[in-house]
C-alpha cells in the first residue's frame, strides 16, 4: 500500500513537512481498520470540516446490550485518556453503563449512557461564555479554552452527561485534551469522526460481537442508521423535554 506522502522513498522523517506526515496518517486511518471489524458507518472523507448537511447520531439496541459487558466504557476511557481512579464521585465518566429494572414489570435491561448530543442542548443554552457549543454537524462539545468551570452545564444536563475535572491531569491523549477545572463529556470521538472513522465505543461494541451500537449520519436517508430508525421504533431519552437527541434507543 502506497503511503501518499512518502512516495516509497527513504526519507528521514525529520526532513518531511510536518503536515504531510500527519496527513498521510489520516489517509491511512480512513481505510485500514482492524480485520474482522464491520465498517459500521463511513463518516466521509478524511479532514472533512463539520458539515451542516450531516447530523451524526447513534442508535443503541437495548436488547443486545449485555449487563456484564463494559467494552464501550473501557474503549472510551482508553481512547480519550480518562480513567476511573477509585473515586467514583469525582472521577470523570464520559460514558457509563446503566442497569435498569422496571418498577412494575420487573424487566431488566442494561444500556450505555453518554452525552446525547441533543439538537437543542440545555447545556449550550446555559453556558455563560459559550464554551459549551454544538457543531454544525450536531456534535456537542466543550471548548475548554473558554470554559471557566462554573458547572452550570452540569446542573442543566438532563442526563448527567458532563463531568468536572477535579484534579490535575497528566499524559493526556493528544487528540483529547483535558485539564483540571474544566468540564468535559463525550465528544462522539470527534477526532475519529473528522477523519472518517467511528467512535471507539461503537467499534468496541461490534468487536465484542454484541453489536448493540450503531453510528452514522441521521440526515442521510441511505445510511444504515437512518434506515434502522425508519423501520424500527426508537426513543430519545426524556423525549418530553423536546431536546431531539442524536442518540436514540430501541427496545427500551
Amino acid at each position: 500500500m502506497k503511503l501518499p506522502a512518502l512516495n516509497n522513498e527513504t526519507v528521514r522523517p525529520a526532513e518531511m513537512n510536518r503536515r504531510d506526515f500527519f496527513k498521510s496518517g489520516a489517509a491511512v486511518a480512513s481505510v485500514t481498520l482492524a480485520p474482522g471489524v464491520t465498517l459500521m458507518a463511513f463518516g466521509g472523507e478524511a479532514n472533512a470540516n463539520a458539515d451542516a448537511g450531516k447530523r451524526w447520531g447513534m442508535l443503541i439496541d437495548v436488547n443486545k446490550c449485555a449487563t456484564d459487558c463494559n467494552a464501550c466504557v473501557t474503549a472510551c476511557s482508553t481512547e480519550n485518556g480518562w480513567k476511573m481512579d477509585g473515586n467514583p464521585e469525582t472521577d470523570a465518566q464520559w460514558i457509563r453503563k446503566v442497569d435498569l429494572t422496571h418498577k412494575q414489570t420487573g424487566r431488566e435491561a442494561s444500556l450505555p449512557m453518554m452525552c446525547q448530543h441533543c439538537e437543542t442542548p440545555p447545556c449550550v443554552d446555559v453556558c455563560p461564555t459559550g464554551a459549551s457549543f454544538k457543531r454544525a454537524d450536531g456534535i456537542v462539545l466543550v471548548d475548554k479554552h473558554t470554559c471557566i468551570g462554573c458547572r452550570y452545564c452540569m446542573m442543566a444536563c438532563p442526563f448527567k452527561a458532563r463531568s468536572f475535572v477535579h484534579e490535575d491531569v497528566e499524559d493526556q491523549a493528544a487528540h483529547a485534551p483535558r485539564g483540571k477545572g474544566t468540564v468535559e463529556s463525550c465528544t462522539l470521538c470527534v477526532h475519529r469522526v473528522d477523519e472518517g472513522g467511528i467512535p471507539a465505543c461503537v467499534e468496541s461494541c461490534s468487536a465484542t460481537g454484541h453489536g448493540a451500537m450503531m453510528f452514522g449520519d441521521l440526515n442521510d436517508p441511505a445510511s444504515d442508521i437512518a434506515q434502522a430508525l425508519k423501520n424500527y421504533a426508537s426513543i430519545g431519552l426524556r423525549d418530553d423535554l423536546r431536546l431531539n437527541p442524536g442518540v436514540r434507543y430501541t427496545n427500551l
Binding site: 527513504t10 522523517p13 526532513e15 510536518r18 498521510s24 491511512v28 471548548d143 491523549a173
Partner: protein, 145 residues
C-alpha cells in the same frame, strides 16, 4: 576606606554581572526538522495568534488540515530527556517553558494539552539511523488500530 569598599563592590558586581550576562538569556533547545519558513522572529511574535486561529478552526469547524496545530508544534519541538524520552513542561528544558519563563508569560496550554508528543512518534524521530518507510508505515498502521 569607604572609597575602597565602593570601588571594590563596583568591580566585583561588574565582573559577576558580566560573567552571568550570557546566562541571563534562555537556552532554547533546537527543534527537530526544518525551520519555519516564516522565520523565528515572526513565530516568536505571532505564534499565539496563529495557534488561536487554528484552534478555533479545528474546534468549532472541524478543520483538521490547519497549518499551525499545537500537536505538530509539540511533536517537532520535543526535547529528549536523559532517558531518550521527551520531557514534559514540568521540567526545565522544555521548549515552550524555556522561553516563556524568561519572558514571564504564563503558558495556559498544558493544563489540558499534553506537552509531550505521542511516544511512538518521537521514538521514530530519535532513532539513528533514520526510521525506514516500513517502520513508519507500521507505526501508522498501529495508530489506526
Amino acid at each position: 576606606m569607604k572609597r575602597f569598599i565602593a570601588s571594590f563592590l563596583i568591580v566585583f558586581l561588574a565582573t559577576v554581572g558580566g560573567a552571568s550576562a550570557g546566562s541571563l538569556y534562555p537556552e532554547i533547545p533546537k527543534a527537530v526538522g526544518a525551520a519555519h519558513p516564516e522565520g523565528n522572529a515572526f513565530m516568536r511574535i505571532n505564534h499565539m495568534k496563529l495557534l488561536r486561529h487554528d484552534r478555533d478552526e479545528t474546534m468549532r469547524l472541524g478543520n483538521r488540515d490547519t497549518q499551525y496545530s499545537l500537536k505538530d508544534c509539540v511533536a517537532c519541538h520535543a526535547v529528549m530527556g536523559p532517558d531518550a524520552l521527551p520531557i514534559s513542561v514540568k521540567e526545565e528544558g522544555h521548549f515552550c517553558r524555556s522561553c516563556h519563563e524568561f519572558a514571564a508569560v504564563k503558558v495556559d496550554c498544558f493544563q489540558c494539552h499534553n506537552s509531550k508528543p505521542d511516544e511512538g512518534f518521537t521514538a521514530l524521530l530519535g532513532k539513528s539511523p533514520a526510521a525506514t518507510v516500513e517502520e513508519i508505515s507500521a507505526y501508522l498502521n498501529g495508530v489506526t488500530q
